[in-house]
């Protein structure tokens, strides 16, 4: 009659992934979805376990036995009824862009591939909302919405799809002004572990009726239910947009400029920081048409009525001067806007371009801290990266206290990279921050949660998991552990 579930109290998952059970399930799946939508060819299964950019390397057994491709909520529900009855573990797959092992099928079983559910169902332009299926890419959605002068603000990595964006509680460069995924979902249709279909809300723009199930599913990484439809809030495209770029002698100078902009209440649309290493990579990889000062650089975005944008640029220019800017450039037309912003856009790509051998990898990680601590944690991380001998660029959503490190390492340097990431996470926790600002914990950061939040809080999360998915069918092992780890399995803090 307690309120939390301790690790050793969670009933050990008793999945049945025997080949006879899988074969029986496959026959049932084929009956519902047709033969073409049930994949069990071994070679076709592997890509559903990981990606080139994931920081988690799945073990050999971490592969699903069958992939199913439903096209409706009802089909997903029927698939889950079968998996529930047969005790088959289930992993959801859509864009495959997550970074921390979110869709590694640790227990095998069934993978639900949502890529067939990619329709924009209805744009309500007078209500500023849209109803979509989970495999709609946010860039594709925004192309469609642009026709009505609208857009959906959350802007994570390219290729990400709404289902996964809900799963990780993503954000991006627009989060400073517009907020994160948690702020832009009005309602979700979700299939629960036993096949029950729920819809968390209708379409009001706000509500205080009952528990906030919508936000409970956002950031739950597919462990509490499967999103089959989403109603998203939309924003009206600003009248005008402008971009300014300012370089500084140090990260601290850049950060103090941002701090003044925030304190003066200048309502900017975005502010991003790229460090000197990152700027150098962009030059070296020649991924943009212009060449850049190789110094810590701020990218500002402004939006609003024409006079308003000009006024804000001039205020920010003055504040950049007070903070000893090295250079300050602003775009005079939409082509220049795109050109200036392009450097921010290609940041990750430019690091990937530095790979030379097949044994080279890029590890992208993020943490977030209270805003005032950001310059310190960035500087300490930069020093460690530099001392480690790895190449590592820093990109910061500086208005949110959130930053990414992108580390280039080869197979021999994996331990070094692990240690850099570990220390970055530890620093963030010690500065009252979080182990991830926008990527989610997946498998790689799961065991850090207790350090960040405390044991009782994680035990409360485990209680939620147990309540909705007592058999631990949905993306088992993610977010919270459900079985006591072996000795030495968790690295020392």
């Amino acid at each position: 009659m307690s309120s939390t579930t301790l690790l050793n109290e969670f009933p050990a998952p008793r999945h049945d992934t025997s080949s006879s059970n899988i074969q029986g399930a496959v026959a049932e799946f084929v009956g519902i979805l047709g033969k073409d939508n049930v994949i069990s060819d071994k070679e076709a299964l592997a890509p559903y376990s990981t990606s080139e950019w994931s920081s988690y390397s799945p073990g050999k057994t971490e592969v699903s036995s069958v992939v199913v491709c439903p096209s409706t909520t009802e089909e997903v529900s029927r698939v889950m009824e079968i998996c529930h009855r047969r005790r088959l573990p289930v992993t959801a797959y859509a864009g495959g862009t997550s970074l921390e092992g979110h869709f590694a099928p640790t227990r095998g079983g069934v993978c639900i591939d949502f890529q067939g559910m990619d329709q924009i169902l209805k744009v309500h332009k007078d209500d500023l909302d849209v109803v979509v299926q989970p495999a709609v890419q946010w860039e594709v959605l925004n192309e469609e919405l642009a026709k009505d002068g609208l857009f959906f603000p959350p802007d994570p990595g390219p290729g990400a799809m709404i289902g996964g964006m809900v799963g990780t509680g993503c954000s991006g460069t627009n989060a400073y002004h517009y907020g994160t995924m948690r702020d832009w979902v009005l309602s979700l249709t979700v299939v629960l572990a036993d096949g029950t279909i729920i819809k968390t809300r209708q379409r009001p723009r706000k509500s205080s009726a009952g528990y906030d199930l919508t936000r409970m599913f956002i950031g739950s990484e597919g462990t509490l239910g499967l999103v089959t439809e989403a109603t998203l809030k939309l924003a009206v495209k600003p009248m005008n947009e402008a971009v300014a770029v300012a370089s500084f002698a140090s990260v601290h100078d850049a950060a103090s400029c941002v701090s003044e902009v925030v304190k003066q209440g200048v309502n900017i649309a975005a502010v991003e920081l790229l460090d000197d290493v990152q700027m150098k990579c962009i030059n070296t990889s020649q991924t943009t048409s212009r060449s850049w000062d190789e110094a810590p650089t701020l990218f500002f975005k402004f939006s609003g009525a024409p006079g308003e944008v000009k006024e804000k640029i001039s205020i920010v220019q003055k504040l950049a001067e007070n903070a000893n800017k090295k250079t300050f450039t602003f775009a005079r037309n939409s082509e220049e806007v795109d050109e200036l912003w392009s450097a921010r856009k290609v940041a990750l790509w430019s690091i990937l371009q530095m790979k030379q051998q097949p044994t080279d990898h890029v590890w992208t990680t993020d943490v977030a801290v209270p805003m005032s601590r950001l310059p310190d944690i960035i500087e300490q991380t930069r020093e460690e990266i530099s001392a480690s001998g790895l190449l590592g660029g820093i990109v910061g959503h500086v208005g949110d206290g959130n930053f990414h490190a992108m580390l280039l390492f080869n197979d021999d340097q994996r331990k070094v990279a692990e240690s850099v990431v570990h220390n970055m996470v530890k620093r963030a926790v010690e500065m009252e921050g979080t182990v991830t600002g926008e990527h989610g914990v997946g498998l790689v950061k799961r065991d850090y949660l207790e350090h960040e939040l405390g044991k009782t809080t994680v035990d409360t999360m485990r209680r939620f998991k147990q309540a909705l998915d007592p058999l631990c069918l949905l993306n088992c092992d993610k977010v919270v552990r459900v079985q006591v780890p072996k000795q030495g399995e968790i690295p020392e803090w």
Copy 2:
């Protein structure tokens, strides 16, 4: 092994409110809190059950047996350990401003009065956050924050306290631009039903690490845990503020003006609608220094850099003209700003002023619908109020599709008022809206949840309640029912 809890599956609460159990508990409470902080005098207990402005009238048995006044999280935890062991139901009390019977102690037992926990613990001005206890009033908080040029945006009714604001997931006039309570809480310290203390987060401005427990507690109306501390996000006060007031021949004209402002992407700080009845009440009650056109009226708030504010006013003025405005006035200085905005501020007060007999009451209720449906639902509701013979003013957070009706009625007219509210709720649900945009469901709107959300969704909420509070100790009977109602107890839909 299912994912939801049906109503007849919830274990019937077996509370023990016998006088011997209460006496034993009182002795234990005195041991922890001291005699002065344990109240069991009958006359002192009644005010903890309801208020003058609540739309719920508690029955005679709906009164707590004892009120305790803790001052720390640890004391709250020890109180809950006692209540858990003795199976005593618990209701939390702070500002007492809620409207739908949120703190009516339906099962008697223990009331925890948080009013002693009213400290602002720490302002982190460089991080734009503040740590507070639950009984801090939002107006008091904003007075303190103004010293640093900061403010906390959610602005519900006067006197509301942070604990209750979390409980109802409140908002107010700032929600259109800044969002609701759900967007402004970084972290909560919560005591669970068994006394376990958890802290949902540290202080990063955003995070995607683990389930969003913070938002699970926001809007949970004290049924999942007791908030003993909150870390709140803060905003920087805008450089300048201005207000404009425009009256129109009809609600539809006013709404079409707002719709154009929104579509053009004019970034306004707030937009509120008061109908002609409401404006007349303000004139009649003489609650402001100026007299107003008795027509549907929009109140716009603008903020930003000086030029930006002027530019936005002139755009809105033009759009108001296109929508056939009757009058358009804007404030030229901060005194005029206060004077113009005062009419919006006194709306509820002006209706209360119309009460003439002790048997007169005011029923304040709210719903929200997709934005485009707001003019229709307001007009239909106005027609019904007018036909009913009641006096009823309308105040709309029109940018959010949310509006309030404030009905003046006497004891003989209660059935008529009930029917107006019922039909307003029904209309909102049929327009894909919600039964409450910012007041919460409490007891009065609880049974509407299934109509709004569907049975399986409410069954999922009930599963969450069961998971965290299996004995149903915390504010039992609120949000979701835990026992099958008697025949006829729920009015027909």
